[in-house]
Symmetry: C2
Subunit: 260 residues, 2 copies
């Protein structure tokens, strides 16, 4: 089985710091950051499974490490299996014939990738590329299909997961289809991204760790427009950016801009 690991791009430097302690690793699944209560983090596929299903899954998964910028699968490729993110973030994107790309979402630990195509036996409709050095559990299509047929609760979890994928796709559509300006889209993105960040002294602090180019591809505009909108936000003391850290100084103003 050849897992394509291509184009190891320049390494990012933010895979360290606080969120690194291992919290919950049943049956060898490595997991980082705040999975202190898996019952609440329903987007973590593995943690929502019954003990029996989890053990069965453990037997068919194979974990490997990937460098930053590795392509897990590409749009148009036949689905060989699914990937569960243990560590790191993965961007899910699509590209048109002119090379313009659009990022659907940044997938986080606990999420399954390639579920849809694997389930339906079609080609991947999206491309998955690691944003950071990542650790992923791979399960072949054959094994995975047998697994969900034999484990009723897993099938339901799969359905739930697909539902969430759907939901996030609808959010993207709303964002790029119904907003009136780049500032609105950027504000919306920042509100969404900073939800769950650290609040300190009236200022929200959160890791951004995305280039303007990537943000542009997430909200559907040009790189320059992101730069300009950021400049405007900074000028109006709504946000501040220090390296990979975003500081939301005026959450209310940001939400107003986002029309929330």
């Amino acid at each position: 089985m050849a897992t394509s690991v291509l184009a190891a791009k320049s390494q990012s430097s933010f895979l360290t710091s606080t969120a690194q302690r291992k919290v919950h690793t049943p049956y060898g699944f490595p997991a980082t950051d705040d999975c202190t209560n898996c019952g609440l983090r329903s987007d973590r596929f593995f943690c929502s499974l019954s003990t029996r299903s989890a053990r069965n899954l453990e037997n068919i998964r194979r974990t490997s490490s990937y460098p930053s910028g590795a392509i897990l699968f590409m749009e148009g490729e036949a689905a060989r299996g699914v990937y569960i993110i243990c560590q790191g973030r993965v961007k899910l994107l699509t590209t048109n014939s002119e090379g313009k790309t659009l990022i659907f979402k940044i997938a986080k630990p606990g999420e399954i990738l390639g579920l849809n195509a694997t389930l339906s036996g079609t080609t991947h409709e999206i491309t998955a590329e690691t944003l950071q050095p990542a650790q992923l559990a791979y399960i072949s299509r054959e094994d995975f299909l047998r697994f969900i047929k034999d484990n009723g609760d897993a099938c339901l979890q799969v359905a739930q997961h697909l539902g969430r994928d759907c939901h996030s796709a609808y959010e993207v559509i709303r964002s790029i289809g119904l907003s009136n300006s780049v500032e609105e889209k950027l504000a919306r993105f920042l509100v969404e991204w900073s939800s769950g960040g650290q609040m300190a002294g009236g200022v929200m602090r959160v890791k951004l760790a995305l280039t303007h180019e990537e943000i542009a591809q997430l909200i559907g505009c040009s790189r320059e427009s992101v730069s300009r909108s950021f400049s405007e936000f900074k000028r109006r003391r709504i946000v501040e950016v220090n390296g990979a850290t975003l500081l939301v100084q005026d959450k209310v103003a940001l939400e107003t801009l986002a029309m929330i």
Copy 2:
């Protein structure tokens, strides 16, 4: 159980003609048009079920008729259950605070509506409104959840269906997020819409039955832009419109415009 039937708008006149013969109605599910081979029409939920599951589903569904323009459920409402389309078309849409609306898709017979919210127990993320007089089977959330727990094959069908929903959402994102012009989006829409139409004498003929306003909401532009692009296409002898009928005269040119 109160099923909200609101705003019966002006009746459309195209629920007649050829596609009306009943072809395949197991256990009382009415179905129209070309469901001659349900094994191939995998988007028809009911037809893909096992005999046992189908019979069980039959016991919990309740079929009713709706006028054109009826709202089945609205964005933000708690999900009470799912609807399976037996006859007619239903538009799935979302609206922003200024009243600008965007149509995700036009659902056809065989599709399930409200699946995601019903499954996850959340509020509906979209609004469903009949485009024509329609016949729908309703299944309460309680019954539906019990049904898919007890019928393993149904659960898998549900997952498949959600996968298709996801897929179509991704298509919308690609269309409105990656295209460069209104003409491209309209061309793409027309190519998609006319796939499966009747070919006769080098000309594709298909029912359009949508206003320019609705098309605008489907491809994310203004009503006037749709009119203008249509005018341009007609001028260049690429398409022709006679009432609710679309004639694609130059499929190749249309596909070129659509960048396919």
